[in-house]
Amino acid sequence: MSTQPEFPMESPLLSDQTRGVRSKPRPVASWREHHGWSAGSSLRRLMSRPVGTLLTVAVMAIALALPLTFYLLLGNLQKMGDALGQNQTISVFLQPGQGGSAADLMARKLRDHSDVASVTVKTPAQGMDELAKMQGFSGALHTLDNNPLPFVLEVLPTPGASADSVDRLVADMRDMQGVDQVQDSGTWRQRLEALLGVGKRAVLVLAVLLAVAVLLVVGNTVRVDIASRSEEIGVLMLVGASRAFVRRPYLYAGIWYGLFAGVLAAGFAVAVELALADPVARLGKVYAGKLQVDVLPPWLLAAVPVAAAVLGWLGARLVSAWQLRKAA
């Protein structure tokens, strides 16, 4: 017993004289290492129970796909609305006394208005022709020798103009000198606006519900994940792991869930796009090719997985903070 006893580990370890594990502090390297390990092991863990992972990812993907789908639908509705709105001309009837030069002057003035896209001058003769055609008794009115119709300006508002600005335009024109009457086929626009109003309100309600749903699904999944591994967490903390260390694999799991769900959701959205292509194309025919399907921009499709991963991380972070507080 005169010789100093060896430390009861094999010889290669005897060279290190300090006790414990922190023989050579290497915080950055070990931090990087554990991040890599956490990412890898959490991924392997998800892969090791493919059915469960797929179920969870699918639920999250659907929650993510729905807002995308609504975005798509609303975009297309808006386009349709615009397309419908584009056909709406406002007829400005000049007073019977006003001649062609007055009409041209007025037309030029109106063309400068920011909400006006184009102005067409209709002579009394053109008006009579049109009236005859429109009312279905061709030729009958041509027998009239004295054309009683006034000059009419057909004003087309700019395509994007809102109902309000068009209303203001109509009021402006009513106040112009030499104008007898302004006829705005406004019910059309009014009806459409009302319809879109309902649609927008509904989409808003649904979007709120869905945002809540995404958060709930991510949070719930991670919560359950952590709850089912409470034993593992307990063991890790018993052998000296810090909270950050314990949490790391769960945060990565959240990121993975989000990433996969995001990719799947983007895929769903593209599928919906394709499903919508056919009816929208048929609708397009009504407008003789004026309507193009509104598709999701590629940047958005790419952003979805990233945003979902961030959301997954966030959900995992929140829930894990709350649950680890209960652990010893």
Binding site: P8, P12, V235
Partner: protein, 261 residues
């Protein structure tokens, strides 16, 4: 540094640090030989249910000492060890560990403290979805040791408990005794300054139990303080180390190593 309150070990209690140890330079260097590493001062633990598991316990364990805690089932052995690992908190009294008042250790300090301990749990506490080697590696990974050195140490520890052949298996495929030894390997792999083992031989046959106890004694030889809860009286007698006897949460005997028959 000894805690100033500490009475001379040989005076207050009926035990003394073995002479042998006095000649070995302690590698850690932060404590004097024979100085109290563990100090219980009137410690009581009352669980939420109202059960008083420990009452007014006072004793000290010197640095580099090896001691057994024994007593009937439910005497409070595990509770005592849990207080040292901060798994439970005492209701009254002061526990000092290596000069640190455990009541003062906050949530952030717990992991740091536990990294300096090696704990063997009565219910093994292995991670069932990681291999034996990964389980043993845990404390080293948490400590941030480099992979190559980690691997060396893990193999050395597994070899010590005779399980090197089981390295790649999952704990669920081991017998209870083998699992218990994995838990022991995990406790020693980080070369802790204090080893706490709760019934480490409960699932081992007598000859293996002696081997494991000898392993703990080897650790003691290089200065590790060792505290073992056990109800295996024949084994305890064979080891000839200090024995602390509990009965219904009270310290009823504290037998120095030399006095063990």
């Amino acid at each position: 540094m000894c805690s100033p309150l500490r009475p001379e070990p040989a005076a207050a209690n009926s035990h003394k640090a073995p002479d042998l140890l006095a000649s070995i330079p302690y590698p850690c260097g932060i404590r004097d030989w024979g100085c109290a590493v563990i100090r219980f001062d009137q410690v009581s633990k009352r669980y939420e249910g109202g059960h008083e598991a420990l009452s007014q316990l006072s004793f000290e364990v010197a640095a580099g000492e090896m001691a057994f805690v024994t007593g009937h089932s439910g005497a409070g052995k595990s509770t005592l060890l849990k207080l040292l690992g901060l798994i439970e908190r005492q209701s009254h009294g002061v526990i000092t560990l290596d000069g640190q008042n455990l009541s003062k250790v906050g949530r952030a300090g717990i992991p740091k403290l536990r990294r300096r301990l090696g704990m063997v749990f009565q219910d093994h506490r292995l991670l069932m979805d990681r291999t034996v080697a990964a389980n043993v590696e845990l404390p080293l990974m948490i400590g941030g040791m480099a992979p190559a050195e980690r691997n060396k140490r893990v193999r050395a520890a597994l070899e010590k408990v005779g399980l090197l052949a089981y390295e790649r298996q999952l704990p669920a495929t081991l017998s209870a005794g083998e699992q218990q030894r994995v838990g022991i390997a995990r406790a020693i792999v980080a070369k802790p300054m204090l080893l706490i083992a709760d019934e480490p031989t409960g699932n081992l046959d007598p000859s293996l139990a002696v081997e494991i106890m000898d392993l703990f004694a080897e650790f003691q030889q290089v200065g590790t303080t060792v505290l073992i809860a056990s109800h295996d009286l024949p084994l305890i007698k064979k080891m000839k180390k200090r024995v602390i006897v509990l009965d219904h949460g009270r310290l009823v005997a504290d037998v120095a190593a030399q006095e063990v028959l």
